[in-house]
Amino acid sequence: MSLITLIPLFPLIGFLINGIGFRHVPKSLAGLISSGAAFASFACALTLYLGFDGQPQIVHLFDWITVGTLNISMSFQLDQLSLLMLLIITGVGTLIHIYSIGYMSHDEGFGKFFAFLNLFLFFMLLLVLGSNYVVMFIGWEGVGLCSYLLIGFWNKNSNYGDAARKAFIMNRIGDLGFLLGIFLIISNFGSVEYAEVFSKVVDGGYSSGDKTLFYITLLLFVGAMGKSAQIPLYTWLPDAMAGPTPVSALIHAATMVTAGIYMIIRSNIMYSLAPETLDIVAWVGLATALLAASIGLFQNDIKKVLAYSTVSQLGYMFMGLGVMAYSSSFFHVMTHAFFKALLFLGAGSVIHAMSDEQDIRSMGGLRKKLPITFITFLIATIAISGIPPFAGFFSKDEILAHVFEHNKLMWAFGVFGSIMTSFYMFRLLFLTFFGEFRGTEEQEHHLHESPIAMTAPLMILAVLSAIGGFFNLPHIFGGHASLAEFMAPLFAQSNIEHVAVDESLEITLMIVSVVAALLSAGVAYFVYVVKKNVPLADGQESGLQKVIYNKYYIDELYNTLFVKPISALSNFFSGVIEFLVIDLIVEGVGKTVKNLSSEARLLQNGTTGYYIFAMVLSIAVILVWSLKSFLLG
């Protein structure tokens, strides 16, 4: 069995052991099995990476569906893209598993939690390993399911259950688009294997702007919208914060939500031939980045801020994809996985220390009590704000540089978004770790730094967030853009024509965005540390601030536009159709027969003479009937 098959197998085995043996596997063992499974996968992925020779490998497991000429096989594909995704998923996944041992140690559903985490890893690995769209779709659905299970993990709280359902339904809407896209691919190319589809696209002589490719890519992008939380399907992600914090870090920040980006990079050959779709992708990404960042400005729940920041960063990635800067977007996926996982885990550490308090208005001054958490959180904040030399700076500026080539206006909006990012992240940092403690005395008494199982992953991720940018150091800083070079074969057939950016211009752009980020960090420092402002209590906001605090009332809008009409329609169906059609006709037939038979059974009265009489009478009737011509002449 090759190493490639082993990678998803380990988490699956871990899931089976912890899932079937839930309540029987002791706690200490459950965490160990799961983390071990994740680490084993990581080790396999690393071995594969080190021995990778640049040639895509396809491992065929078995033929799954064969209908006519269409053959869908269960097979895995190992190439630059899936290798990098594997490393991110298993690497960050392992760290988060270890972290969860500490974070979830007091929870009843400890074993169940780890079983779900492993199941998630399995599906996510299936998603990135599959060599055709259908295997990707299995993983796609599977991670959606795990996301649902883990958001509603504390299922005794019905709000959490609602959040889980919301995530599931929103994802389903997107999945429908993805599925239709797959159908369109099948009907046009007669195959779902990446290699075959792409070679048919290249050889088929499709010109740029072809209608078929436009529809396929657009439908696939609808799928990406759902999974990667873009306008208009983003509202589930902030609510998904109901799940345990490690889940938010693993699924709703580092891995699952980047599946949409993975899918578009995977299909880059088709996207590059569909400029209209790319425009849509870029503008949707930009709009999402700005909207989410502006909502993040006034949120007071530590995890909500991070959630909106995730949505906003995903927007940046899509913006990068929209201008065909595929490798830059992927670079951002990677650095984002590091620093966003770190931010969430840091937030988890804070929440853990604060006895499950998530409101930053009740925090403050935590830097002395939680030194490790503070330093790692600070590194992540600098990284996400795009201040050099930490990871976020390189990846974000690469995207922005490509956007600048494409459209200057879009670039200006992008920089504006990164100013907001810097502001809300530093606001979060200052409110949480600086100033005076604002919580209750009991909480203050309980404050403690987290155990080593939790701080170790923080430190590793902090190192990665700090140096992650050097994996793809651009030429102007003396680097080799090694990531972009590594991924280049993926885009070889895409005919991307990049105008080489003037180096001095690139440096100017960088300086502009860094200065902007630093300035807004300074403003945040002034407002929240020097002036010691604390956000107002709920319900005291006014004007624009109130609108933003309530997330532009988008949830309410969706509620009025979609939920209410649909539930009205359902009520109509259950009240009228159900009553008239189901009750009256369907049940009516049954009831009539039953009533008739309850009358008819009285004939069977048990008296023998009566039966005999009936028999004789019947015989007489039959006799007369058959002899009627004879008798009547």
Partner: protein
């Protein structure tokens, strides 16, 4: 010595028909009106024999032995049926100390 079919043919066919019809009706009336299981049983036998008689008569008039062979079968089956039937009646008597079929009305809805 006269042949039996010839003897039978000395009486007109109509008479046999009417006679066995009468016999059959007596049997039916017996079955319908009496409540004693044994009497009902005897009436059933009467009906069977009415049919037998008719079969023999027609067989003789048509000079076709099939009818008479049929009668033998009916008699054999009837004998077996009497054995089973009487056994059932004995069991009924053992259970409810009567053979009045009017009391056997438990077999209903």
């Amino acid at each position: 010595m006269q042949q039996i079919p010839d003897v039978i043919r000395e009486i007109p066919l109509n008479y046999y028909v009417w006679f066995s019809t009468a016999l059959f009706c007596i049997g039916i009336i017996g079955v319908l009106t009496r409540r004693n299981a044994i009497i009902i049983f005897m009436s059933v036998e009467l009906m069977l024999n009415a049919v037998n008689l008719l079969l023999v008569a027609f067989s003789s008039y048509k000079a076709d032995p099939t009818g008479q062979i049929f009668v033998f079968f009916i008699m054999a089956v009837a004998a077996a049926e009497v054995a089973v039937g009487l056994a059932i009646i004995v069991m009924i008597y053992r259970n409810i100390q009567t053979i009045d079929v009017g009391l056997l009305n438990k077999l209903k809805w």
